[in-house]
């Protein structure tokens, strides 16, 4: 079975600084994959490289077997890949509804088909209906994260990349947001979820990859990997096990 999305020897740089050293990952139809690793391991860089936000070689990223590395970001969205970026990156100065409408507009322009509509999103996150007219920056962190997820869903993605959607949120809000992931998966969307909380990452995924200093150090089924293996992969060999 060919992967929906895969990377092959993916290398990425910020100027002279090399951030990724030959990363190979795979994402299959309907699958949720977690990506864990310490701060600075290269998780965000990996997602940004897939989205065309960093220059990478054409053959380093395959989407349904087609080489797409280095494709412009808006074209990647058109091809069915959407991202909930680190730090949310909402359009400040615009209302909640206008933030979401931007995605609806573009999906319509590109003729993207999918099951996500504003009413359906409102059922998933009712607060977004209540706050539709509020300036997006007036929302709480958790509510803003819901807007960011909603905006990505309204792009009608077949592949959704989520970068630390729990960062800085209260445990109750994190549970609420993660509770929405099964419904997103039920639409057939495959997901890569970057997550600092290892327990949360394991429970929300089928498989996981652990990264360290720009390389994948561990991969396997989330239910089968042991804490000890993760500890080693997370901090590097020789480091004390957590």
């Amino acid at each position: 079975m060919t992967a929906v999305l895969s990377t092959h020897g993916l290398v990425a740089r910020y100027g002279d600084f090399q951030a990724l050293y030959g990363v190979d990952i795979e994402l299959h139809q309907g699958e949720a994959v977690a990506l864990i690793g310490a701060n600075g391991a290269g998780k965000s860089t990996l997602l940004r490289s897939i989205m065309g936000l960093l220059p990478v070689g054409r053959e380093m990223v395959l989407l349904h077997g087609e080489p797409v590395g280095g494709t412009a970001t808006d074209r990647m969205v058109q091809k069915g890949v959407a991202i909930v970026p680190e730090g949310r990156r909402l359009f400040t100065g615009m209302s909640v509804e206008d933030n979401l409408r931007v995605a609806i507009d573009q999906a319509a322009r590109m003729g993207a088909k999918g099951g996500w509509t504003l009413p359906r999103l409102h059922r998933l996150f009712p607060i977004l209906k209540e706050k539709a007219r509020a300036p997006v920056q007036s929302l709480s962190g958790g509510q803003q994260q819901m807007v960011a997820i909603g905006r990505a869903l309204l792009c009608q993605p077949r592949v959704l990349l989520c970068d630390e959607i729990s960062l800085g949120l209260a445990p109750k809000v994190i549970r609420e947001i993660y509770a929405a992931l099964p419904e997103i998966r039920a639409t057939g969307t495959a997901m890569i979820v970057v997550e600092q909380d290892v327990g949360l990452a394991r429970s929300a995924s089928d498989r996981l990859y652990c990264m360290l200093e720009g390389r994948v150090t561990l991969t396997g089924r989330s239910a089968e990997i042991t804490r000890e293996q993760i500890g080693k992969a997370y901090f590097g060999a020789g480091h004390a096990v957590v």
């Binding site: 936000l53 808006d74 058109q78 909402l90 206008d98 995605a103």
Partner: protein, 287 residues
């Protein structure tokens, strides 16, 4: 009565300034692109309009019909060929590139049209006036104000209600996040600059009808447009309109106090607003 007359004349002058300022409100206020060649583009379009009118014997309205699409095309080319190469969070590259363009355009215009002042023949429209409440008001300035109001209204609605407007506001807020939502920022910016320069096509015709134009006049128009946008507040189209009125009224009242004081009065009011309310009359304070 004399002061009321100054107020009315100031509002009418503000209508002219609003036509320069709208394009600036879009490019500088929303997209944060500093276009130093703004005024030179108005003058270039005016001179082209005057040449077309004399060569083909056209009246003001046909000139407008020819000039606005030409202006739209010029704006689109300007963004595609020059500004899209230098867009980014740093405003300095666009400033330098358009500063160079401004000098090049002024020299080009001097070569083609010489330094003489010219104007567009209005076929009588420029000398008609109406009496309103004991004051004589020129027909042409009234038309200018009406067109400025209409353009402001259209631009404001376009930004608020259309797909293009939302995409432009999104790209201006965060270019990368806009691309992540499927927007092609360069295409959106090319359309926005086309719209901004297209509006200057209107300004060019009315400027050449109301007074005279010469190749070196651009920088003054740039300053008025810039002042109007800053007085009104960045990112608000109606703010730029009101800023233009404030500038026009200040100049008209200053002119009544002393004919040499008119333009300076406008600059003083601009500085006073900048000192007391840096975000402009309608701008939101930076947090």
């Amino acid at each position: 009565m004399q002061w009321f007359d100054a107020l009315v004349q100031g509002i009418l002058l503000g209508g002219m300034y609003a036509q320069y300022a709208l394009g600036m409100a879009l490019m500088f206020g929303v997209m944060r692109i500093v276009n130093i060649s703004h005024g030179d583009l108005v003058i270039l379009l005016s001179l082209i309009g005057i040449s077309i009118a004399t060569a083909w014997g056209l009246g003001p309205l046909p000139v407008l019909v020819v000039l606005v699409p030409l202006a739209v095309l010029m704006g689109w080319v300007l963004q595609k060929a020059v500004l899209n190469r230098v867009v980014g969070s740093d405003p300095l590259p666009s400033l330098i590139a358009t500063f160079g363009l401004s000098i090049a355009l002024q020299n080009l215009m001097l070569q083609i049209w010489s330094a003489n002042s010219r104007s567009l023949p209005g076929h009588g429209i420029e000398s008609q006036s109406l009496e309103i409440g004991g004051i004589y008001v020129g027909l042409l300035p009234l038309i200018v104000l009406a067109v400025a109001t209409g353009l402001t209204w259209c631009l404001d609605l376009t930004l608020k209600r259309t797909r293009f407007g939302r995409a432009l506001r999104a790209a201006s807020a965060d270019v990368e996040a806009a691309a992540m939502t499927g927007i092609n920022p360069r295409a959106v910016y090319a359309m926005a600059t086309a719209a901004a320069v297209g509006i200057l096509g209107f300004a060019a015709v009315f400027q050449a009808l109301r007074s005279t134009v010469a190749p070196a006049d651009g920088p003054a128009q740039l300053i008025y447009a810039f002042e109007a946008v800053i007085i009104g507040g960045m990112g608000t189209v109606w703010g730029a309109f009101v800023g233009s009125m404030v500038l026009g009224i200040s100049q008209a009242i200053g002119f009544r106090i002393d004919p040499g004081f008119g333009v300076l009065a406008g600059h003083i009011v601009f500085l006073a607003v900048l000192a007391s309310r840096p975000q402009g009359l309608f701008g939101k304070a930076l947090s």
